[in-house]
């Protein structure tokens, strides 16, 4: 993967973001910062793609700004999912791709663990429909304004069980498997 994170050709960074450009050289951050003017965003360097943290209240507005406008044109939603960080809340992660410009960006928004409500992105991309349904049932997130808030993979009546939360237990057989391997989660065991 070569083209990721490089500045689109002929893109000159503005003086107002000069300090940030220093730390995010050769990334698409200057363009993102310009397109998302007025939104309180924070960049982070990822292994492949630039990660942009967006406040919860502005997420759909920011996504729409990234999609529209000629500069970036993030017209393709690659993936939408969430990560449970236990006490640090749940991150909802959007992987966006711009077909015309061939650039990627990851947008992240953090929800507190006790208030997992977020505005739906289906108004920006239709692709978000099923992806949000899956994320909702797996992590207990409520996407407000979703046109079809049914379960997707889970049974219709299992709306109070959220399997991908870290607090959700493994089945007994899986725990047994883990014990037989002789290591705890994350701790690891040598031989």
């Amino acid at each position: 993967m070569t083209t990721d994170g490089t500045t689109p050709a002929g893109d000159e960074s503005e003086a107002s973001v000069a300090e940030l450009v220093d730390t995010f050289e050769n990334t698409i951050w200057p363009s993102i910062d310009r397109v998302l003017a007025g939104v309180d965003v924070r960049p982070e360097r990822g292994v492949l793609d630039l990660i942009v943290h967006v406040p919860r209240a502005d997420v759909v507005r920011a996504l729409r700004m990234l999609k529209q406008g000629d500069e970036l044109q993030f017209n393709y939603l690659r993936s939408l999912t969430a990560v449970d960080n236990e006490a640090d809340g749940v991150d909802v992660v959007y992987h966006l791709y711009s077909i015309p410009k061939n650039i990627n960006v990851t947008v992240k928004v953090t929800l507190p663990a006790d208030d997992k409500v977020l505005e739906t992105a289906t108004t920006v991309w239709q692709a978000a429909n099923w992806l949000e349904r899956e994320t909702a049932e797996m992590f207990g997130i409520r996407f407000t304004g979703h046109p079809d808030p049914r379960t997707l993979l889970m049974p219709e009546d299992m709306t109070d069980v959220f399997p991908l939360l870290k607090s959700h237990p493994f089945a007994e057989i899986e725990l047994l498997q883990g014990e037989l391997l002789g290591h705890e989660r994350g701790a690891g065991g040598d031989e």
């Binding site: 492949l48 990560v83 239709q126 290591h183 031989e191």
Partner: protein, 375 residues
């Protein structure tokens, strides 16, 4: 004597339930059709029958074991599924993969594309109503490919042959000759299909201008792979964001024009020619050498607080793996971006307004694997 007909008839829409167990659904998939006569007015897909929590299972197993679960998501193109996963682990572990391993991976992934597309032709022929001939032709060709995979990995479908860092073991000594042999028969197989279906009048009547989706809609819905390119969108990750050595080989990306069922069939047929072109170039470049990095830790541990989203061009579209590490020897979060799930979202839009019989071939033309949809 003329009898007067009643001024108004009352009509009623009929609900038809297709699946979950039905030969035309290619797995365990259910769709509820609301029909007015022969025309589909509404289509509601139901999925999840094969959900087995592969992502959660991966979070409970170490990086080496995850390869096996990837095989079982996309079992018709398991090499491609493994590839995304091991590339994600390699990206976070900063492993340098030897060139020989990369070339062999490329050959196997393209061979897997051939076997997967053959499977599509066989099943699709049955959907369209040509029972027998294409099905048996496809199985004959696919069998030669699967025999080769078995010789290499020991398994016909769940290969578990790729490792983070390289490959599990060397390929057999006669690997090059065997691939050439298989290519020869596959090339004939593609020709046979071309002759059997592409210009067949009945086949064209069934598939042309059926289940059309425009390029804008396909992008909006998040379709990928051959199904997206059939609508004329030039998006092939092997070209746009080359991985392995795809930037060092020559190949074309076939595109459709109308985005109908025929185009989705024909793009796949042309893609197979290109896959064979790629494999031949790979075989020329393949040289002896190591297949695993020299300094390979016995237990892989990834750095804390890192994440990566790897996408590769699998036969059915973009197979993505989103891997989040918080240290240790297991993924904190592993998400599989299923190409089929996103492609399947377009089914309703393609089918509404079409005939019931066409809804079946539209589903067939997306080429879904339900175990990848549900994971």
């Amino acid at each position: 004597m003329v009898t007067e007909t009643a001024p108004e008839f009352e009509t009623q829409d009929l609900l038809i339930n297709v699946g979950p167990q039905h030969p035309s659904t290619h797995g365990v998939f259910r769709m509820v059709l609301e029909v007015d006569g022969e025309v589909v007015k509404e289509l509601v897909p139901h999925i999840g029958y094969l959900h087995r929590g592969a992502e959660k299972l991966c979070e409970n197993n170490d990086f080496r074991q995850g390869v096996g679960y990837m095989d079982r998501t996309e079992y018709l193109a398991a090499h491609n599924a493994e590839l995304s996963y091991v590339m994600a682990v390699e990206a976070l572990a900063e492993l340098e993969v030897p060139a020989r391993a990369q070339w062999i991976r490329m050959i196997l992934c393209e061979l897997n594309r051939l076997s997967s597309h053959f499977m599509f032709f066989g099943a699709f022929g049955v959907d369209v109503g040509v029972f027998g001939t294409p099905f048996v032709y496809a199985w004959r060709e696919r069998e030669t490919l699967i025999d080769l995979f078995e010789e290499i990995s020991g398994d016909r479908m769940m290969y578990a042959y790729f490792r983070a860092g390289g490959l599990a073991w060397e390929v057999p000594a006669n690997f090059k000759e065997r691939v050439h042999e298989v290519l020869k028969s596959s090339r004939q197989g593609v020709k046979d299909f071309d002759g059997l279906l592409t210009e067949n009048e009945i086949f064209i009547a069934r598939t042309k201008n059926v289940g059309i989706i425009s390029a804008e809609d396909a992008i909006e819905i998040g379709m990928s792979g051959s199904s997206l390119r059939a609508s004329g969108v030039n998006l092939d990750i092997r070209k746009t964001e080359p991985y392995l050595f795809y930037d060092q080989v020559e190949f074309d990306v076939p595109l459709g024009e109308n985005g109908d069922v025929f185009d989705r069939y024909y793009v796949r047929l042309q893609e197979m020619e290109q896959s064979m072109r790629i494999i031949e170039q790979c075989l020329e470049r393949l040289e002896d050498g190591p297949i695993m990095p020299e300094k390979m830790p016995r237990m892989l541990r990834l750095p804390e607080g890192q994440e990566v989203y790897i996408r590769t061009e699998a036969p059915r579209g973009e197979y993505g793996v989103y891997l989040v590490s918080k240290g240790g020897n297991k993924p904190w979060r592993l998400k599989v971006r299923s190409a089929c799930l996103s492609n399947l979202q377009a089914l309703r839009q393609m089918s509404v307004g079409q005939y019931v019989a066409d809804a079946i071939i539209i589903l067939g033309s997306i080429d879904i694997v339900l175990s990848e949809v549900d994971r």
